[in-house]
Structure formats: structure tokens, C-alpha cells
């Protein structure tokens, strides 16, 4: 099976966030980036399927220069090749333009399956996979927590997470797009050998023209929404903060739970 995996590079959840100069995003200087959490599960699932079916995994990402590092990491984990959409025409868009560009790059090669994470930890649209599916005219499922391939019948059985701890079980015809939820499997670590091999693997950088995509429908010009500003939430309306070293704070807390909240 040939499997395409779309990954996004996002700020590390532990990163200290500061506003960018124009107030529409965060300052990316000195920020550390990682592969989006649910995408790591999508990649792992793809690698496992490829191993079982004697297939291969090609990894795709849209984003600036820094994204190369995430692609290298995916190559070290076992993807055979990477496609980096970093032409300026691709950047600065919204979910629709990102999905359109990725679908164009995927369609240019031909795959049996596309895996993405279910949602990015930064912007969190949760829609890129289904937009790609719409562009390709393939079935899709969001929040996939179980994948059973039936290659002979060109089907895949998926468990789709629902609210409150239930899964919906359904069959999709292949080719399909699966938007993987975190927790589906146990992502592997890169081996030293994998890291060495990754250095020799190809990262191609096609532009819109190479993919037959009209630039008007991409990036900022194709976007249907724009960010006005980003901000930190108001503080101060929240918790009563308890000061002091660990021991003092702990004592104060217990006292307050007994005498003020009266729940102990």
C-alpha cells in the first residue's frame, strides 16, 4: 500500500508564547517546534500498515523553511520520501487553501490511503483531512481510534471516536482519508540508523505550477478567512492564588479547603 501522511509542525506545548509584532500570531523566534501530536500517531499507523503490506509511506507538510526539520524526523522514523510545500504561494492561507494544496500534491502521485492527525495543537481546525477528502472525492473519517484493512475488498474498517467514550464502527471504501486521533497506537522512536538514512532521503519542494494548481486558490489570496488579532485570555477572574513555598502553600490550601470551602 502506498500511504500519504500529512504532518504539521507546531510550537512545543511547553513553549513560552509571546505575541508577534503585528499581533496576528505568536513570535516564532526562539520558539521550539515539534510534530503535531495526533500527526505522530497518524505517521506510526501508516508505517505499521506499510510494514504489513510491503508498502511505503510518503510524508507531506505545508509550511515555511523550519518544517524541513519535522520532515527529516518523519524520514528518520521510516517514511521513504518527503514533499515540502513551502513556496510562498502556499503560505498564509486557511484550512481550505492548506487542504487544497495538500490534496493537489497527493493527487499528483496517487495513493491508496491518506492519513492525517485529527487536529493541530496550534490552530486546531480539525478539518484538513476532510477538506483533502473532499478535494480528492474520497470517503473520510475524523477521530479514528481503530483501523482494520481489508485489502482484498478494497475496504477499511474504522472506529471513529464519539463523545463520552463510545466508538462508531464503519466501513469505508479505499482509497480513503483517515484523520487519526491521539492514542491510536504507540509511536516509535527514531533509531540511529534511521536518522543516518534520513539524511540521504529526498525532500522535494514542488510549487503550485508543478502540481497544476492555480495560485489564486492558494495561500492568502485563496483564503476565506483572515486573522484580525490573537491575544492572551483575561486573567484575574480566575483562581485565588496561594503563595509561598510548596510546604507553606500546601498547608494554606488544606486550611482553606477545611475552613473556607468546607469540603474536607
Amino acid at each position: 500500500m502506498r500511504i500519504a501522511v500529512c504532518i504539521k509542525q507546531v510550537p512545543d506545548t511547553e513553549a513560552r508564547l509571546r505575541l508577534s509584532g503585528d499581533g496576528t500570531w505568536i513570535d516564532e523566534e526562539d520558539l521550539s517546534f515539534v510534530i503535531n501530536e495526533s500527526d505522530t500517531y497518524a505517521l506510526e499507523e501508516a508505517l505499521q500498515i506499510a510494514e504489513r503490506t510491503d508498502g511505503e509511506v510518503v510524508v507531506f507538510s505545508l509550511g515555511p523553511e523550519r518544517v524541513r526539520e519535522a520532515l527529516r524526523k518523519a524520514l528518520a522514523l521510516g517514511a521513504v520520501r518527503a514533499v515540502h510545500l513551502q513556496d510562498p504561494a502556499f503560505l498564509g492561507g486557511d484550512g481550505l487553501t492548506v487542504g487544497r494544496a495538500l490534496a493537489g500534491a497527493i493527487a499528483a502521485e496517487g495513493f491508496d490511503l491518506v492519513l492525517t492527525g485529527s487536529q493541530s495543537d496550534d490552530v486546531g481546525f480539525g478539518s484538513i483531512g476532510s477538506i483533502i477528502a473532499g478535494e480528492l472525492g474520497w470517503p473520510h473519517a475524523w477521530l479514528v481510534m481503530g483501523v482494520v484493512l481489508d485489502e482484498a475488498n478494497h475496504k477499511v474498517k474504522v472506529a471513529r471516536e464519539m463523545e463520552g467514550g463510545m466508538n462508531e464502527i464503519s466501513n469505508l471504501d479505499l482509497p480513503a482519508v483517515l484523520e487519526v486521533q491521539a492514542g491510536l497506537n504507540k509511536p516509535r522512536y527514531a533509531s540511529l540508523k534511521g536518522i543516518m538514512q534520513a539524511k540521504k532521503k529526498e525532500i522535494s519542494e514542488p510549487g503550485p505550477g508543478d502540481l497544476g494548481l492555480a495560485p489564486e486558490g492558494l495561500g492568502e489570496s485563496g483564503a476565506k478567512i483572515e486573522v484580525i488579532s490573537v491575544a492572551f485570555p483575561e486573567t484575574g477572574k480566575g483562581a485565588q492564588m496561594i503563595e509561598g513555598d510548596a510546604e507553606t502553600a500546601a498547608k494554606t490550601l488544606v486550611e482553606k479547603l477545611q475552613k473556607e470551602a468546607r469540603i474536607l
Binding site: S127, W142, L143, G164, A182, I225, P233, A246, A249
Partner: protein, 328 residues
């Protein structure tokens, strides 16, 4: 022409989802702000009672797509139905509850309509005639304000709790049937059934005290400090999703939108940032204590008491203070 605001309601077996009522309220507010009319849309099969229930709200119409082909949700049929209906009626805004079902198909609907997509909205306001939508980013650590550009419908999903279902204005709305050719629409998914994900034993919904642990614990080996605190409080252990995903605790301990919803007397969250998917599962707790090394973590916005510090020091200190207070 006055702007149409559509609210697409989610129902199962004729029962309207709570978040769909919240979306109705949001639609009524939006209609008042932009000088438009709010109209509801219901998709499913056997919807007579549900439609008449929705018809008792202050809405300009309830559009019903009632057909055996829509009895089960499938993205294929729901997208085709809504696409045809939206293209015909041209609503300016289409609101949805931000449920897992909505997210499953909303991107696809936006793609097929080439429409602006604004998921997970928690607030909106009208500024100079254009609507500014507010949504959380970066796990709730920040918020973004966005607006649609160009023409065409704007698809918006509303996060749980942003608007109040109790404040839906009552009234009376005509019920109109959407006559579409449902038989022509491919399901694109063969539903086989529904099963329990966790298969677990633990019911946290009745626990009076819960000690909940997040990724901030750092290492599975450190779990005993959390267990000790739980023991000292006579509490059950709960966790955020990453703790479960990493296999540190079984899935039946997960709290949040894809886990259990709890309302204990006391909820202690240690090393949990406070992403919305976690908050919806625990914000109804009577007293919330948060322990986090990051003073700006969103969990402190819902907590009653907060301690900024390293949980590896604070948690054992609280355990010790509890033991001391109880005279052990």
C-alpha cells in the same frame, strides 16, 4: 434583504443535542446583531416531534430534511443535503454545534461550497457590520479573532458552553420541509454499529473527590505521588487524555469530552493545562484546585484555588499537610 442565519441542529432518535440548543441561542443573538432572521435546520428520519419542539422557539422557520436515507448520520448524505439546501436558500451564516459529528463533516461541507470555515467559536461580536469570531488556539492558552472575507456563506461551529441553552427565546416557527432528492446521495460510509471504547469498569461520575493528573507529571514512574494524594483525600484518580494515550493509566480514568464527565465536590488538577476538551469534562466540579508550574495555564481560569509550582514538590507537600491536619 435581511440576512438569513441558519442553525443546523444535531439530533439522535429525535432528541436534540444540548449543544444544538446552545447554537440556537447563538443564532438568535447573531440575528439580532446583524438584523437578520434565525432559522433552524433538522436532518434525520421521523422528525415530526423534534421539529415541533424546535418550532416552539423564536425562529423564522424550521427546515426539515426528513428521509429514511438520513436516519443514520453519514458525511456523504449530510454534506450533499446541506450543500443543496444552502445553495438554494443562500444563508449568510450557518451555525453548528461543535460536536464530533459536526467536525467530522464540516470541513467537507466548506470544501464543497467553497465557503468560509470558522470552527470552535466561543464568542462573537459585530464590528462595523462585519462579524468577528473568537476561537481558542494553542490549547486554550490564547484566543484568535477572525473574520470571513469575500462573499458566500460562513460556516461556524460553536464550542460547548459558549452560549446558554436555558436562554433560548420561546416563540413559534413554521415548519417547512426541504424537498431534496435524497436517494441520489451516496452514504460514503457503511455504519456497522457503536461500541464502548474503553470497556472499563471505573465510573468516576459518582466519585466525591477526584485527583486528576496531566502530562506535567512527566514520567509514569512518578504516579505514586498522585496515588498517595488520592489516598490521603479518599479520592479516585483521574487523568487528562495524554496520560491515557501514553498508557500511564487505563482509558476508563480519562476525563473530558472523549472521556468521562465528572462533577465531584473536589477536583484537584495537577500538571493539566486546561484545554477545552478537558474542561468540559470537569468544570461543573464544586471546588477546583489547580497545581501547575505555568502561572498562565488556562486551568487557573476555572479553578477556585491555584498553586503555581512544581507538582513534584507541591503534591507530596499537600499529602503531608492533609495527614498532619487529620492527626496521622
Amino acid at each position: 434583504m435581511s440576512k438569513k442565519i441558519w442553525i443546523v441542529l444535531q439530533q439522535r432518535d429525535g432528541k436534540i443535542h444540548k449543544m444544538a440548543w446552545e447554537a440556537v441561542r447563538a443564532g438568535q443573538i447573531l440575528a439580532a446583531e446583524v438584523g437578520g432572521t434565525a432559522e433552524a435546520v433538522l436532518l434525520g428520519s421521523g422528525l415530526e416531534e423534534a421539529a415541533s419542539e424546535v418550532g416552539q422557539c423564536s425562529l423564522a422557520a424550521v427546515h426539515v430534511a426528513d428521509d429514511a436515507n438520513l436516519a443514520e448520520y453519514t458525511p456523504g448524505r449530510f454534506v450533499r443535503t446541506l450543500e443543496a439546501a444552502i445553495n438554494a436558500a443562500q444563508p449568510a451564516y450557518v451555525l453548528f454545534p461543535h460536536t464530533y459529528q459536526t467536525v467530522d463533516f464540516l470541513g467537507r461541507l466548506a470544501q464543497s461550497l467553497d465557503a468560509a470555515l470558522v470552527p470552535e467559536v466561543v464568542a462573537f461580536e459585530t464590528v462595523d457590520g462585519s462579524v468577528e469570531w473568537q476561537r481558542p488556539i494553542l490549547g486554550g492558552k490564547m484566543f484568535a479573532k477572525v473574520r470571513a472575507k469575500g462573499s458566500g456563506p460562513v460556516l461556524v461551529s460553536l464550542q460547548s458552553g459558549a452560549y446558554s441553552a436555558d436562554e433560548v427565546e420561546k416563540g413559534s416557527a413554521p415548519i417547512e420541509s426541504l424537498n431534496l432528492d435524497y436517494a441520489d446521495m451516496a452514504a460514503d460510509r457503511e455504519i456497522l454499529g457503536v461500541e464502548e471504547a474503553a470497556g472499563g469498569e471505573v465510573d468516576l461520575s459518582q466519585a466525591p473527590v477526584i485527583v486528576s493528573v496531566g502530562r506535567g507529571l512527566g514520567d509514569e514512574e512518578k504516579m505514586p505521588i498522585m496515588q498517595d494524594l488520592a489516598d490521603a483525600l479518599g479520592a479516585e484518580l483521574g487523568a487528562s487524555r495524554p496520560v491515557i494515550d501514553s498508557g500511564w493509566l487505563p482509558r476508563d480514568r480519562q476525563i473530558g469530552s472523549s472521556g468521562q464527565t465528572v462533577t465531584p465536590k473536589l477536583y484537584v488538577a495537577a500538571g493539566i493545562s486546561g484545554a477545552i476538551q478537558h474542561l468540559v469534562g470537569m468544570k461543573g466540579s464544586q471546588v477546583i484546585v489547580a497545581i501547575n508550574k505555568d502561572a498562565s495555564a488556562p486551568i487557573f481560569n476555572v479553578a477556585d484555588y491555584g498553586i503555581v509550582g512544581d507538582l513534584h514538590e507541591v503534591v507530596p507537600a499537600v499529602t503531608a499537610a492533609l495527614k498532619e491536619a487529620s492527626g496521622d
